[in-house]
Symmetry: C2
Subunit: 701 residues, 2 copies
C-alpha cells in the first residue's frame, strides 16, 4: 500500500534479515551410516533438501497459468469486503482445497475491522467556487475515471477517495504545497503565507499520505487535495495519445486511491485481533485530521483560487477475511514457513496485488499437485495467507499476527511476502528484494526473463549492489518499512521477513511507481500489454520465491547465515561513527565504544556458531537446537519497550527512521531531535540487544 | 525480602503455575523396540526419568551437612558486596568447582548496582527533643542491637537502617499511624489531625515498607519511624526472659532492616543489565520519598512528643556478584531448569537466606558427586544461581534476567526458588508453596520431618487445602508476588516459577514472620536451637526441592499438566462472575461472556492436548514439540503492554492486585478504580491472552 515508505526504505539502504544468506551445501549433515539401518523415521528426520526437487518445481511453473490466474483475479473490482473480494475468498478456498492440486487444508479467518468508504449517495468532490459567483461552482472534479476500456465502466469501481479521511466540506484559498512535507509547509509560512483555513493541493510522493494531512493540519490547513503529477509518474507524458490504453502511462483522469491512516492494523483494536471480544481503543489513533480528496492531473491542472473539498466518507465496521492454506510438515510440523500476499485491491488490482496472488496460486498448484500425488511433503509446515483489507492499512495480516502472536513468535522460521510481483514491463531488469534471499548465488540459478542471458541473481546484482567485506560485490537489499503485509511480522513479532519483486530499470523511467497504481487502470489488459507481456517476469518471480520457500521448508539446517547479521550491525554502526552524528556524540561526551565492543563480540560468536554448525552430527535434537538458535536470532532484537509511542514497532534495528540517517533507528531519531538523554538510552537499548542476540548464539550449555 | 507481599500473595490465593502438577508415569513414552537396536543416542534421546535415581538422591541428602553448610554460611555478616559477601562468592565457586562434588562449571557475573548504606561516620538516629529542652535530647535510639551472643558483637554488623531512604533530619510531632496504610493515614486526617510536618511512627506489617513512606509523604509526613510490635512478631512476649537467647522471640533491641524501594532490580537501569553500558534512567523511580528509620520495640515504647529522625544513608554504586553453577544436559542442553537463591543478608542471615543456600549446597553436592563419578547426567541443563543484592530489591536475579532475557525466555523450563527454606521451629508442620509442585502425590513421597508419620505432601494438604473439581482435596497454593528472586522470572519473562519452604503451624503462633527476621539475631545459633534443631525440616525441603528439580530435568515429557491451568483460569473467572464485581459489570453493561467462552475453549483444548501426549511415539522431535508447547504455555500469558506503569510486570494472570480481589489483576485494579473503560480494556487483554494460550496447545499443523 504505502509505496513511498518502500522507496524510502530502499534508499536508506539498511538490510533486513541480513542473516538470510542461503548457504547451500555448506551445512550438509552426515547421514546415519554404519552397519545397522536406522529406523525409518530417523532417516526422514535427518534427510536434507533434495536439489532435484527444486529443479522439478521450477520447471513446473508455467507463465501461461500465471497469466490465466491474473485474468480471473482481476476480472472485476474487489475492494476489501465487497462482493468481488468475497468471490476471491471462494476462489482461493477452492484452489487450496482442490482434490488434485490443493493443499492439506484451507480455512477462512474473519475479523470485524473498521474500514472507510465513500458515501454512495453523496459523492466526494473538489470544486471551485469563486466568491464572485456567490455559491455556484466554476468547476467540479470528475467523479470517476474515464472508461477507456470496459474495466473502468464495471459496477463496483469505487470512486476515487482518501480512505479514513473525515467528512466535511471546508472551503478556502487553494495553496500549492508541493509534496506536503514539513519543510514544504514551512517554506510557505516562511514566505509570509498564512495557511490557516486554506485548502492545500499537494502531489503524491516525498512523504506518506497520512503525513501530508497530519502535518498540513498542524499548519492550519483545512482541507487537502492530493494529485498525481505526470512528472512523478509518467516521465512527463500527459496527453491522451501518450497514455493508457496507448502506453503504460497514467491517463489524465486516473486517480491514485489510498489509505490515509498513520498506523496500521485495525484502528479500533491495536494489539488485539478485531474479534467481538476486542476492546475498542478510545480516540481512534491514526485517523487523519482533515477532509482529504485525491484527484487526477487533468483536474489538478484547472484548479485555481477558492476551492471547496467535499468529503462524505463513511467509516464502517465490516467483516474482512483472510484465507489460509496449510501444508503439514513431515518432521517438524511445529516450524512454520509463512508465505503471503493480500487479496483486496482498490479497483481491479491486476498489478497490486493480483500479480503477487497469481504467482502464489501457481506455486501452490505445483506444490499441491506433488502433495496429492504423494511425491513430496516438506520437512516443516508451510502456511499460505491471502490477507484481507491490506489497502486500508495492512489490516488482515496485522490482525492475524495479533491473534496468533504467541505461537507465530515461537514457531515461525520466516515470512515471505510477494505483493506486487512485477512492477515493470518489458524493460524489467532488476530484482527488488527487501531481504537477502541469497548472498550466495545458488537460489538464483533461476534464469532471468527476457532476451538476455544470466540468472535473476546476476541481473539483481548488476542493477543494485554493494561491496561486502565477506562476499565481494553482492546485490544490495532494501529495508522493510510498512509498505506491505510483512510489517507486523518483522516489526511486531520479530519474524525474519522478505519481500520480492521484479521492478523497472531506473535508466528507463523515473516513474515514482508504475503509473496505474491504485487507479481504475490497473487492469489485466494493462498488465498483459504493458507490464509483462508473456508473463516471463511473473514466472521468474514465481520460480525465485518458490525456490526460497522450498529451501526454508526442506533444508535440514535453516539456510540463514547468522554471520551476515554481523556485517549489517557493522553497517549501522559505521554510520553512527562518522560525520555529524559522531561529531555530536563526541561534543556531548557520549561514547560508542560499548556498542562497538558488543558488535565485535557478536561477530566472533557468530563465526564460532557457523563453525559448530559445520560439525553437526546426525542427532535430530542437535540439529533442532541449532535451528532454534538461527530462527530465534531475529527475535533477540525485539524490545517492546524501545519505542513506546510507535504502535507495533519493536525491532531495535529495523524500526522506521523518519530522520533518514541509516543507523540504529532509536539513535537516529533521538539524535535528530537533539535529545541527548534519549540518545544515551537508545545506545543502551541497541547495545543490550546486540549483546543479548550474541548470547543466544553461544553454545547453550 | 518483602515478606508482607508474600503473605499477601498467599492470602489472595491465586495459584501460580497451576500448570505444574507433576504427572508421573502418565506420559511414559514407549521405547524403541523391534528387531534392530536403535543407535545409542536414540536410546538416550528417548530415555525417561529413573525413579530409582530419585530415591538415591533423597537418601544422600544429609541433615548434618546442611547444618554444617549453614554454620559456615552464617559465620559472619554478609551484606551485599561487603567482604562477608565476597567470601561467600569464593565459597560457592569452590564448592561448585570441587573435583569430587562440583558441577560442570561455575562462573561469576557481576553488575554495577546502586545500593544504599548507613554513613559509618554519622549514625542514623531517632531522637526526642522536646521544645522546652531547647535542642538537647531527651532520648536517642540505640545504634545497634544488644550483643546477646557473640554474633551481634562481630565486625561488619550493619546498624539498623532503611535502605534507600533519603538523608535528612526532619523534626516534628510524633504521630502513631498504625501500619501506615492509606486507610490508616486517612483515619488520622478524618479525626482532625494535620499530618503535615509530623514524624509518623508505624509498625511493620499490613503494607509494604515502601508503601508506608510513599503514602505517608502524600499526607505531608516529614519523617518515618518503623518499629516491630511484639504483638505482631512475638505472640506478645516482650520481656528479656521471654526472648532470644531464651526463646525464638525477638529481643527488645532487635530491629528489622529492609529495603524501602518501590520497584525491584537496579533502580538506575530498569530493563537493562547494570553493566557499564547501561543507560541511567533519570529521576531514579522507586526511591522512597522521606527519611525513614527502623527501630526496635524497646525504643518504640519510650517515644513521645517531638521527635527527630536523622538519616545519613548514602547511595553508592557497587559491584554485586551472582555465582552461577552449571550442569550440561545430555540430550537437550538447550533446555534449562533453573534453581536459585540469594546469597546476601542484612546481617548473618542464617534463616534469610542461609537456610535456602545450605539446602542448595547439599543438593549440588549430591548431584555433583554423581556427575563426577559418571553415574548420572541430566537430560536437560541445570543452572544454579546464587544471587547478589536481593535484600536491596531482588537486584542480582533481576539483572540476570535482563542480561539474558532472550535465551532464558526461549529455553527455560522452570525456575525453582528456595530462599528461607525453614521458617518455623520444632512445630513446623506445613509446606509453604507458591507453586503446585504437585497436584499428585508422587513427588511428595518425601517423609515429613518430626515425630509424625506421613509425607510432606500429606502434611501440606493437612494444613492448607482447597477442593479441586479434578483432584478432590489438594494442597492450596500461594501466588508469587515480589517477595524473592522468582519475581523477574515469572513476572518479567513468564517462566514457570515456584517457591518452597517449611513454615510454622498457625495454631502455634501468630508471628507475622519468624521474629529474628532481618535483625542481628538471625544467626546460626538461633536456627540451631529454635528454628530447626536437628535440621530435619531443612532435610525435608532439600529432598522435596531436589525431587522436583530432577523430575523437571530428567523426565522425557515435562512433568507439568496444562489442564491444571484451566482450573486456575476458572478460579480467577469465578471471582469476577460473582458478588460486587459481577453486579458492577452488569450495571455498566460489560459482559464476561467472551472471557468465559475463551476459558471453556482453553479447557477443551488442554484436555485434547493431554490425550495426544499419552499417545506420543518414540520420535524425539515429536517429544520435543510437545515439551515446547508445555514450556511455552506460561509465556503465552505475557503481555508487555498490559501494565505500562508497572515496571517488569507483564503476566496477565499473576501481576499484583493491590485491590485484593483475587481475579485477573488488570480487571481487579480497573474495577477497584471504577474505570470502566479500563475494565473493558483489561477484559479484552485477558480474553486474548487465554485465547492465545489455548491456540499454542492445538496441534501445531
Amino acid at each position: 500500500m504505502k509505496w513511498q515508505w518502500q522507496v524510502l526504505g530502499a534508499v536508506c539502504g539498511g538490510a533486513l534479515l541480513l542473516g538470510a544468506g542461503i548457504l547451500l551445501g555448506h551445512f550438509a549433515v552426515p547421514r546415519a551410516g554404519g552397519g545397522r539401518d536406522p529406523p525409518r523415521w530417523l532417516q526422514d528426520a535427518s534427510g536434507d533438501l533434495d536439489e532435484k526437487l527444486i529443479q522439478d518445481v521450477m520447471g513446473q511453473v508455467e507463465s501461461a497459468r500465471i497469466r490465466e490466474n491474473l485474468r480471473v483475479l482481476a476480472s472485476r473490482p474487489h475492494l476489501a469486503t465487497t462482493p468481488g473480494d468475497r468471490a476471491l475468498v471462494q476462489l482461493l478456498r477452492q484452489r487450496w482445497q482442490d482434490p488434485q492440486t490443493g493443499l492439506d487444508g484451507a480455512a477462512e479467518g474473519t475479523y470485524d475491522v473498521l474500514l472507510s468508504f465513500p458515501d454512495p449517495k453523496r459523492p466526494n468532490s473538489v470544486s471551485v467556487c469563486p466568491p464572485v459567483l456567490n455559491g455556484s461552482r466554476l468547476f467540479e472534479s470528475q467523479r470517476s475515471e474515464k472508461a477507456l476500456t470496459p474495466d473502468q465502466a464495471q459496477e463496483d469501481v469505487v470512486p476515487p477517495y482518501a480512505a479514513y479521511a473525515p467528512s466535511g466540506s471546508p472551503q478556502g484559498r487553494l495553496v500549492y504545497a508541493h509534496q506536503g512535507t514539513r519543510s514544504d509547509y514551512e517554506t510557505l509560512v516562511g514566505r509570509g503565507l498564512d495557511l490557516n483555513g486554506t485548502i492545500a493541493i499537494v502531489r503524491y510522493g516525498g512523504a506518506g499520505r497520512a503525513t501530508k494531512a497530519v502535518v498540513g493540519a498542524e499548519f492550519g490547513v483545512a482541507g487537502l487535495v492530493v494529485y498525481t503529477d505526470p512528472k512523478d509518474i509518467n516521465d512527463g507524458r500527459a496527453g491522451e495519445n501518450d497514455t493508457y490504453p496507448n502506453s503504460w502511462h497514467l491517463p489524465p483522469s486516473g486517480v491514485e486511491r489510498g489509505s490515509y491512516t498513520e498506523s496500521f492494523g485495525d484502528l479500533l483494536t491495536p494489539y488485539h485481533p478485531a474479534k467481538g471480544t476486542a476492546y475498542d481503543a478510545p480516540g481512534h489513533p491514526g485517523i487523519p485530521p482533515i477532509p482529504t480528496q485525491p484527484i487526477g492531473f487533468e483536474d489538478a491542472r484547472t484548479l485555481i483560487c477558492e476551492v471547496q473539498v467535499s468529503v462524505y466518507n463513511q467509516r464502517v465496521i465490516k467483516k474482512s477475511a483472510n484465507v489460509m492454506g496449510f501444508i503439514r510438515g513431515s518432521q517438524e510440523p511445529d516450524r512454520y514457513v509463512l508465505y503471503g500476499n493480500h487479496r483486496d485491491s482498490w479497483v481491479h488490482g491486476a498489478v497490486d496485488p493480483g500479480s503477487g496472488t497469481a504467482v502464489m496460486l501457481e506455486i501452490t498448484r505445483v506444490l499441491g499437485k506433488m502433495l496429492k500425488e504423494g511425491t513430496w511433503r516438506p520437512r516443516r509446515s508451510i502456511i499460505f495467507g491471502s490477507w484481507g483489507a491490506e489497502e486500508f492499512g495492512l489490516i488482515g495480516s496485522t490482525e492475524y499476527t495479533e491473534e496468533f502472536s504467541s505461537k507465530l513468535q515461537a514457531r515461525s522460521v520466516a515470512y515471505i511476502n510477494v505483493d506486487i510481483s512485477v512492477f515493470g514491463g518489458s524493460f524489467c531488469t532488476s530484482l527488488y528484494p527487501s531481504n537477502p534471499c541469497g548472498q550466495h548465488a545458488v537460489p538464483f540459478a533461476v534464469p532471468a526473463p527476457g532476451s538476455g542471458t544470466g540468472s535473476v541473481y546476476d541481473n539483481w546484482r548488476h542493477h543494485t549492489n554493494r561491496s561486502s567485506p565477506t562476499y565481494g560485490v553482492i546485490p544490495s537489499l532494501g529495508s522493510l518499512g510498512a509498505g506491505s503485509d510483512y510489517a507486523s511480522f518483522i516489526h511486531y513479532l520479530g519474524i525474519t521477513s522478505m519481500d520480492l519483486a521484479y521492478t523497472y530499470d531506473r535508466s528507463q523511467t523515473s516513474a515514482r511507481i508504475y503509473p496505474a497504481y491504485h487507479t481504475a487502470f490497473d487492469t489485466f489488459d494493462y498488465t498483459d500489454r504493458f507490464i509483462d507481456p508473456g508473463f516471463t517476469s511473473h514466472q521468474a518471480v514465481a520460480r525465485t520465491a518458490g525456490n526460497v520457500l522450498l529451501r526454508l521448508a526442506d533444508s535440514l539446517v535453516l539456510p540463514l547465515n547468522v554471520s551476515d547479521y554481523g556485517e549489517a550491525l557493522e553497517g549501522l554502526y559505521s554510520v553512527a561513527a562518522q560525520g555529524q552524528v559522531q561529531a555530536d556524540l563526541v561534543a556531548h561526551n557520549i561514547s560508542l565504544a560499548p556498542l562497538k565492543v558488543a558488535i565485535d563480540r557478536f561477530k566472533t560468536i557468530a563465526a564460532d556458531f557457523n563453525q559448530r554448525v559445520m560439525k553437526l552430527k546426525e542427532d535430530p535434537l542437535e540439529v533442532r537446537m541449532v535451528n532454534d538458535q538461527i530462527m530465534l536470532l531475529e527475535r533477540a532484537f525485539l524490545d517492546p519497550r524501545a519505542f513506546p509511542n510507535k504502535y507495533y514497532y519493536s525491532h531495535v534495528l529495523w524500526a522506521p527512521r523518519a530522520a533518514g540517517v541509516p543507523t540504529f533507528p532509536g539513535l537516529a531519531e533521538a539524535h535528530a531531535a537533539g535529545d541527548w538523554d534519549a540518545v544515551r538510552k537508545h545506545l543502551s537499548i541497541a547495545t543490550q540487544a546486540v549483546e543479548s542476540a550474541a548470547s543466544t548464539l553461544e553454545p547453550p550449555a
